[in-house]
């Protein structure tokens, strides 16, 4: 009879019923969503803060340039000295005071203009004021050159580069960032999964060793079956946990956003430069057109193929790393001894992520990206980061994809074989803190 399903079931249940695992599973989404909601709420709170800025305009310029926006409004002081204006601003509890002195020309007015405030002013406010004055200055200079304000407005329209691929497909800005985020998310997910659940596998092996049940079990099942059962059972528990996180996270986020009436867009808006937000004259048509283009580009990313390759790389990568973790667990007597072995395992994972972020995103088909997407210990992460740029022409060449998977499979067989040997010897070895030399000797033991 095949005992593997029995072992998988036990390992799965042992993990899933574990108290800290249950708490983590249900608490994490609540904490995550709570944090997101808190950030969104605070951002909104910040945005809603009404700032009133007093303007003391002694110059002949500036009459209606200071336009109130949703967060800022302006109050014009008249017939006050600067000292009186400062006092009034303070006593009225306004955010600050703009003082435009009386000077013969605008250039000099601008030179001597001050902003007074209780504390250092926020950069958003400052930016807005500077933009207003810069715009007025430019208008004035052009007027001197003989341009009417209307002509000036005409001239001020900004310009966007049209971009296209050689195939004639319209390209849009920012799509590379989106691809990078998708690829990065997949790679990061694999790394986190390996580190978290590989660690679980290792601790579970150590537990069996320290509780001395291993010798009881090993007289009824093959060590290899026990190891694989443990790895598979733990990963199923991990997948369960991830699924619960995603589903409950999404539901909680939806509920939270509804209850607190937070606009999800406010979460992304924070990332935009303040100057861009001020430039409100983007017409609606352009926005929808852009959204369509983005959607089209995202559909261009081979999502289906990516999912398939994600599963392939995820399974192989996870099996390779978790069998290494199992071997480490078998080689030591307690968790404190694992440090010297853990670091070399995490190193290629970290390397893969860094290479991904610094090299793959700037040059997805460069030599470094290619090398690391072939090297088996980094390929599950790096290759997935390259895949959003497509497969075949313009993306990852097919030969690279195939050889990367073949190398990964060969490595998988080799590593699992070695790990199983170390595991088999290690689980019955007590009281020794093994060195790498010792582990090498174990590899040569006959069964």
């Amino acid at each position: 009879m095949n005992k593997l399903p029995l072992i998988i079931k036990r390992e799965y249940l042992a993990k899933v019923r574990n108290k800290s695992f249950v708490i983590m599973t249900f608490l994490s989404p609540i904490l995550m969503v709570g944090m997101i909601l808190l950030i969104a709420y605070l951002t909104q709170l910040n945005d809603n803060e009404e700032r009133v800025i007093a303007v003391l305009n002694d110059s002949g310029y500036f009459s209606n340039e200071f336009i109130a926006s949703e967060a800022t409004s302006y109050v014009n002081f008249q017939d006050l000295t600067l000292a009186e204006a400062k006092d009034s601003t303070l006593s009225l509890g306004y955010y600050g005071l703009v003082y435009l002195p009386s000077e013969p020309n605008l250039e000099q007015v601008a030179q001597r203009t001050f902003f007074y405030s209780k504390e250092a002013p926020s950069s958003i406010v400052l930016n807005k004021l500077e933009n207003t004055i810069t715009s007025r200055l430019r208008q004035e200079r052009l007027r001197e050159l003989g341009l009417s304000p209307k002509e000036y407005a005409e001239m001020d329209r900004s310009y966007n580069m049209n971009i296209e691929t050689f195939d004639g497909l319209q390209n849009i800005k920012g799509i590379n960032e989106i691809k990078a985020i998708i690829g990065g998310a997949f790679g990061y997910l694999i790394m986190m999964f390996i580190i978290i659940y590989g660690g679980f596998v290792m601790r579970s092996v150590i537990e069996e060793k320290t509780s001395r049940i291993i010798e009881v079990i090993i007289s009824s099942v093959k060590p290899f079956h026990l190891m694989m059962g443990k790895i598979i059972g733990t990963s199923l528990a991990g997948i369960t946990q991830f699924a619960i996180w995603i589903v409950s996270g999404a539901i909680l986020l939806f509920i939270g956003l509804t209850i607190f009436d937070i606009d999800p867009a406010s979460l992304t808006k924070g990332g935009m430069a303040p100057g861009m937000a001020g430039n409100a004259s983007v017409d609606v048509d352009a926005v929808t057109q852009n959204i369509q283009l983005y959607a089209q580009e995202i559909f261009e990313i081979p999502i289906f193929a990516m999912l398939i390759f994600f599963i392939i790389y995820f399974v192989l990568g996870y099996l390779i790393y978790s069998s290494i973790y199992a071997a480490i667990g078998a080689a030591v007597d307690n968790e404190t001894d694992t440090q010297q072995f853990i670091f070399p395992v995490i190193l290629p994972l970290m390397l893969a992520i860094y290479v991904g972020f610094f090299s793959v995103f700037s040059n997805p088909n460069g030599p470094i990206a290619v090398a690391f997407s072939l090297f088996p210990l980094t390929s599950p992460i790096v290759m997935l980061m390259r895949l959003p740029w497509g497969i075949g022409e313009g993306g990852v060449p097919v030969w690279q994809l195939i050889s990367s998977i073949l190398i990964l499979i060969a490595t998988f067989i080799g590593i699992v074989w070695m790990a199983a040997k170390i595991y088999r010897v290690g689980i019955l070895m007590y009281g020794k803190k093994p060195s790498y030399k010792e582990l090498y000797k174990w590899l040569k033991y006959s069964s």
Binding site: L6, S211, S220
Partner: protein, 312 residues
């Protein structure tokens, strides 16, 4: 077939260390076979080979007449010396799991567990976690799990460690009744008094080699060397002692004045004891005369010491 297990010239090497060297054993059916030896002699390695946890480099092992193969696992029950259970798992669940690993169906395992739990009076532990139990309680469960699948061969490595005398006795009775029901048992221990009590056959392993094996009673006979213990009632011990010393080889003597009891230990040249009896009966009242038979402990120590001397 009279042997449940036959090992032929089994050799096992771990790197440079030889754990077993040409060890041959024949373990008769329906008997308790004591596997003895100092720590690190190679007993555990031999047991692991029988359980197919490791495999011999050279030599072969036959189980019930067939070359040992994976299917035999379900006919062997093994209680290791280093034993434990999953701490956070419930007793019943755990016992079921281990029984299923041995090839029992869930329903069958449940039925048998119920029987054994009642027999050992541990029925109400089913839903307890192992970490709530004492060491002796956990040992009982391990014993049940070992014998549950009714194997033909049982291997107990120090089965009594961790038990109080009452429970040790309970387990001993169970082992004997298993033997009476036809099970063959390998019994590995350092406790010689339980060897005397239980084992019909023994093998002594020392420094990776088997140095002695056979029926315990035969070995004892072979180790007898005509030493007799004599009890005499006499008021005049000094005279008697010197008389005995003249005629025979006197190993030791002690005298109890109030009881007028003289105890002598004598080494005779042969099994012939009539001469000394005749002589003594003319001198004093003989109230005790017994041949001294070596204990398993004596044999154990003596054999190993001899072996060590031979090595030097």
């Amino acid at each position: 077939m009279n042997h449940i297990l036959v090992a032929n010239e089994v050799t096992k090497q771990f790197g440079n260390h030889t754990a077993l060297k040409n060890v041959s054993l024949e373990i008769p059916k329906n008997s308790i076979y004591g596997l003895l030896g100092p720590n690190g002699a190679g007993k555990t390695t031999l047991i692991r080979i029988i359980n197919q946890i490791t495999f011999p480099d050279k030599g072969s092992v036959y189980f019930d007449g067939e070359l040992l193969k994976p299917e035999h696992i379900s006919q062997i029950g093994y209680l290791p010396e280093e034993r434990g259970l999953y701490k956070s798992m419930k007793v019943g669940e755990q016992a079921l799991y281990l029984a299923q690993l041995k090839g029992l169906s869930k329903a069958e395992a449940k039925k048998r567990l119920k029987y054994w739990f009642e027999k050992l009076e541990i029925g109400d532990w089913w839903n307890k976690k192992i970490q709530e139990l004492s060491k002796g309680m956990a040992q009982k469960i391990q014993f049940v799990v070992t014998v549950l699948h009714e194997p033909k061969l049982l291997i107990f490595d120090e089965p009594f460690s961790g038990f109080d005398p009452i429970n040790a006795n309970l387990i001993k009775e169970q082992i004997l009744s298993l033997k009476d029901n036809g099970t063959s048992i390998i019994f590995s221990t350092h406790r010689m008094e339980s060897v005397e009590e239980l084992c019909e056959y023994i093998a002594l392993i020392h420094k990776s080699e088997k140095i002695l094996d056979g029926k315990l009673s035969d070995i004892k006979k072979a180790y007898k060397n005509n030493i007799f213990k004599v009890g005499l009632e006499t008021a005049n011990q000094d005279v008697l002692i010197s008389e005995v010393q003249d005629k025979f080889q006197l190993l030791s003597h002690d005298y109890d004045i109030t009881e007028k009891q003289l105890n002598l230990t004598l080494q005779l040249p042969s099994k012939e004891s009539r001469a000394i009896l005749d002589f003594l009966s003319t001198r004093a009242n003989v109230n005790g005369f017994v041949e001294s038979i070596p204990s398993a402990n004596d044999i154990f120590i003596k054999t190993i010491q001899n072996k060590n001397i031979a090595h030097e």
